[in-house]
Amino acid sequence: MRCRITRARLVAAWTWNANDDLCGICRLPFDGTCNACKTPGDDCPLALGECRHAFHLHCILKWLSSETSRNHCPLCRQEWQFQQR
């Protein structure tokens, strides 16, 4: 039997792959945006540290640029290094 597909409606879902649901800095869901952004997804990506802790990229950058951070991960206080993939 042969069939010809005349129409298809494709649906896709995405989610960030983090160990947690919420960003530890802004306390908002990873699948939403950090509290400075409007559109979720590539415009407001996640950042993963060598310590495997994830944050919204914008949140962790704000933290790292502050004096108090001393370049520590907010969750484990180890030195923050962006994970290279």
Binding site: R27, N35, K62, T68, P74
Partner: protein, 208 residues
């Protein structure tokens, strides 16, 4: 389910938590929370002072609704050991009461903490002091200032009002004797009216 409606004439947003777990539950929440939230008074978000960053405002709104949803406000019944004094009338200044844990030196005693939030909270730490009669403790000065590293050098934006209050409660609980810091009088005389955030703290023991 959250219902939002603007209060006429004022720029406040009202959220009436009407229970049943429709709201996104943060970690550690359980089934009874919906009912606890329903018992609570209406949550009114106070207007954010102009100086507050959007980040600070949204984060404080989130924490405020978490306190309400978990039923840990002044109106909650039974009264929890740590509760937020409600209604919060200024977004940048909160008062939290904490009760000493049973079978510790502070059992049955109630203390008030004042949290003041900087414009870039949670990147910068809140200012936290005891009001009224501060507990007699080696890390608590008689003017209410606390020598607690997470409030200063070891602040992390992953800390919340709740986790700070818990740390302070456990700092009290682990005390083996009630006494003031050895340099209490000199310190208090010296810093009259100044914020503890302007003190250069030396943290002697990490264990407490």
């Amino acid at each position: 389910m959250e219902t939002r409606s603007a209060v006429s004439g004022k720029e406040t947003t009202q959220i009436t938590p009407s229970g049943r777990g429709a709201t996104r539950a943060p970690e550690g929440r359980h089934a009874s929370v919906g009912a606890a939230a329903a018992r609570d008074a209406t949550l009114v978000f106070p207007e954010a002072p102009k100086r507050m960053s959007p980040m600070a405002t949204r984060r404080l709104h989130k924490e405020l609704s978490d306190w309400h949803l978990s039923g840990r406000t002044a109106e909650s019944n039974p009264q929890p050991a740590i509760f937020l004094e409600t209604p919060v009338t200024r977004l940048d200044e909160w008062f939290v009461s904490l009760r000493g844990v049973e079978s510790t030196l502070y059992a049955g005693e109630v203390y008030r903490l004042r949290f003041r939030f900087p414009s870039d909270y949670p990147i910068e730490a809140p200012e936290v002091v005891f009001l009224g009669n501060p507990p007699v403790h080696e890390h608590v000065y008689s003017n209410g200032h606390l020598c607690l590293s997470i409030l200063y050098d070891n602040w992390s934006p992953a800390l919340t009002v709740n986790s700070v209050a818990l740390s302070i409660q456990s700092m009290l609980s682990s005390a083996t004797q009630k006494r003031r810091p050895p340099d209490n009088d000199a310190y208090v005389r010296n810093c009259r009216g100044r914020s503890p955030k302007h003190t250069r703290w030396l943290f002697h023991d990490d264990g407490v």
